[in-house]
Symmetry: C3
Subunit: 337 residues, 3 copies
């Protein structure tokens, strides 16, 4: 199937420079595109490939237009336009409604007739599944959970008891929502379990990446806000709250009872301690270690980037000697005055 | 269902101050409790909510008693008492014995009649499942594994060949026990596999969080001691030994052939190298990097907490210049003497 | 079953010193071996156990031969010889060909008659499974995927649409290949999804550890080269390329669109940013933070190892004061000149 540049420009709110009737079939990178493909320039690292691209068309902003060798679609934000155009060219996979014969469904659950329930899904008692929900193969939905309209669980996802998922969410394989939080109390040297009685409540338009885990609350619920986007292998502790439209990259760990604000952007591998509060609009760069609350918007960082191992050995020694160095400088100051 | 304060106090070994016949139905936080609920004060961060709570009762230690606005149950350790009372108010979910018709069970396995085997469970040959074990939906128990009495595998857990789990353990969804350790040898530039012939042996009263992985030993077994508590997304390498009653928070990685002592507490995101030894009673704060053995009990740390990104850029430059700084100070010293 | 030292020496290309007809049944560590077992010395940390071992034979290099108390097999690389001998003594588990009755297979898929398809496997449309492939219980193979000859998916693995796996690979439980990459675009404050239209292509002889995730590409494919070995809980972002024969330890996170060279060795817990390039033959020690491209072969590191917490508190303060210290030293220099 092919789309004209006019159709694509209309869909993304852009203006064609060149042949409006030119047809493209799919997206490609500037470097590898053929002339029946469309590309885009968003990250300036790839600008060097623009003038030589053989893509049939390129989505650019006005500034880059002069360097486009073929047709262009000019927009304000080429990355957003690419996202929208790519969806036009690659519609979401449609799943037929119905329940696979190998699924095991408790009869007390309510499943909308438009929902699609895949092979070997297990749905326990009292579950509510709204219209157009897609539950892929091998998912487990435990008692009392509720899944909002248009949400898709791709495959092999476990929702524990009483988990609530909003509308239009996408959960990827291996996700576990609502497993017990890590609550233990030391009873004379022996650790005893603190029952985890809360659950997890997830807003609308949330995406959750593969093998990410979100624990149920100890008393009240763990809460993921509207429009939150979570990458793979994130761990979110019990009773943590993630504010609306916050984005978290892969391998982030957030301990329990921490509140993350709205519109935050958290880089990969960040660790955030428990019982903290992070303001709205906070950016944390990759691998940052957060041990105290952050009360103002802005960008925060920690960690020391890689250096050759021989230098690193020296640096670590210098780091360990900082105390001595400070003492020496004090001594010098005393001598001088 | 409701419990009197007298019943709860008896269960936790506390003393009621106020109305012994007062009834509560569930736990809530100090901040959000209603008067038919009970709360507790353990973390002093939440003391500010004590005087204004409308909870029907609060579990406190003697020191905080005067600030309780309503009924109180006084105990030595409010967190332990909360854990015990919460279990009283929220009994463990009971699973009916029997084997789901969709489970696939090898007939050479021995399953106690009191065990509960959930939907689409797979049990291979020579498996032994003791009394009152609960195997939730989609678990896989490979050949020769053994699961001790009273243990619960919640759902979607994989035990590979010959894994032994003790009594009264709880494993959460996505856990993988006994996958091959990461053993490779470089045979003239090409990596060849070292067969992983050991297995994994897990003690009694162990809890293992969602998506945690514990690899099988190369030759001998990987061993998790009695009463160990593991949070989510922990990785434990082959032939590592975790001592009794050690507690490990989420996202910790422990390489192979390392021995962790007893009663250790390991914070989230810690990394521990291979072939090391960690003494008993070691505390590691979050994100600590352990590259050498730790031979004495005590608290250890590393990592630099977050700062505003602009300052961080400066700090990294300063860090890189430490060598020059030391040289300068030496020069000054020479000049002065 | 037992093997003579002559048989083992022949298999590993070594020379027996002692009784060639001596028989051993299995491997053990130097410390714990019995006299019907064989051991090896590769890591010098364990040399202290050599002279007192009761192992019936030990695989060593020529240098250590004199210290072997019993029979020896002398080789150039004892670890490689151990790997090969351990495979001889522990042959790979054989799986009978055929399709389990509980598997759900789309009839448009092509499954070689020598393949073994386990219990409750789901295979969607247009899948190609070559000879001698083993698909363990609960695996999900989505539409259009292809699995090369001799590859084994142990259990509970999810391959999303169009994933291609080479020959002789081993994937461990919980692995997810081809879930959507983390592509989002900010459309006026609201995050919208960037469709992830590429897939994942994995070479021959690749091993992938438990709960590791490899995302599908946004436009083109994510690529894992020939002979790559990945440990557990690794996250590989969309459009990342991992070069042939590179080895990555557990808990590593690699962001999207990064290219890792050939023959790299990446330690546990390393984090690598997006859109970077890492040269061939780069070694990264554990927990290193990579924020820039690395253009030359060699060893790179970062991170500060653990110290007692009281010292760490001081170190962090000193680190924060480096700027002041530099200023002071400048002042002293000015005074002195």
């Amino acid at each position: 199937m092919a789309w004209t540049l006019a159709e694509i420009a209309k869909h993304v709110g852009g203006v064609v420079h060149g042949d409006e009737a030119y047809q493209v079939e799919s997206f490609a990178t500037l470097e590898n595109a053929a002339n029946n493909q469309i590309s885009f320039l968003a990250n300036l690292k790839y600008r060097k490939f623009l003038t030589s691209t053989v893509a049939g068309a390129v989505i650019v902003n006005a500034e880059a237009l002069d360097s486009v060798p073929n047709n262009a679609i000019v927009v304000d934000d080429p990355y957003v336009a690419y996202a929208k155009a790519a969806r036009l060219l690659n519609p979401v996979r449609v799943h037929s409604p119905g329940i696979a014969s190998s699924a095991v469904i408790n009869e007390s659950s309510s499943i909308h007739s438009s929902a699609s329930i895949g092979a070997q899904v297990v749905i326990e008692s009292g579950v509510v599944i709204e219209e157009n929900v897609v539950i892929g193969p091998h998912c487990i939905i435990m008692s009392g959970s509720k899944i909002g309209a248009g949400t898709r669980l791709t495959a092999n996802i476990t929702l524990c008891e009483g988990v609530q998922i909003g509308q239009r969410c996408t959960l990827h394989p291996g996700v576990v929502i609502g497993a017990d939080g890590f609550g233990i109390a030391n009873d004379g040297g022996k650790w005893i379990k603190v029952p985890q009685v809360g659950s997890v409540k997830i807003g609308d338009d949330v995406e959750i990446g593969a093998n990410t885990t979100i624990d149920r609350g100890a008393i009240e619920d763990t809460i993921i806000g509207q429009g939150v986007k979570l990458d793979n292998q994130i761990q979110i502790g019990h009773n943590t709250i993630v504010g609306d439209h916050t984005v978290i990259a892969g391998c982030v760990g957030i301990a329990g009872s921490t509140t993350i604000g709205k519109y935050c952007v958290i880089g990969g591998g960040v660790g955030i301690g428990g019982h903290l509060s992070i303001a709205d609009n906070v950016l944390l760069t990759g691998m940052t270690m957060v041990t105290k609350s952050i009360n103002s918007a802005g960008s925060y960082s920690s960690g020391i980037p890689a250096e050759p191992t021989a230098l690193w050995h020296k640096s670590v020694i210098r780091y360990r000697q900082m105390d001595k160095l400070v003492a020496k400088v004090k001594e010098l100051e005393a001598k001088l005055s």
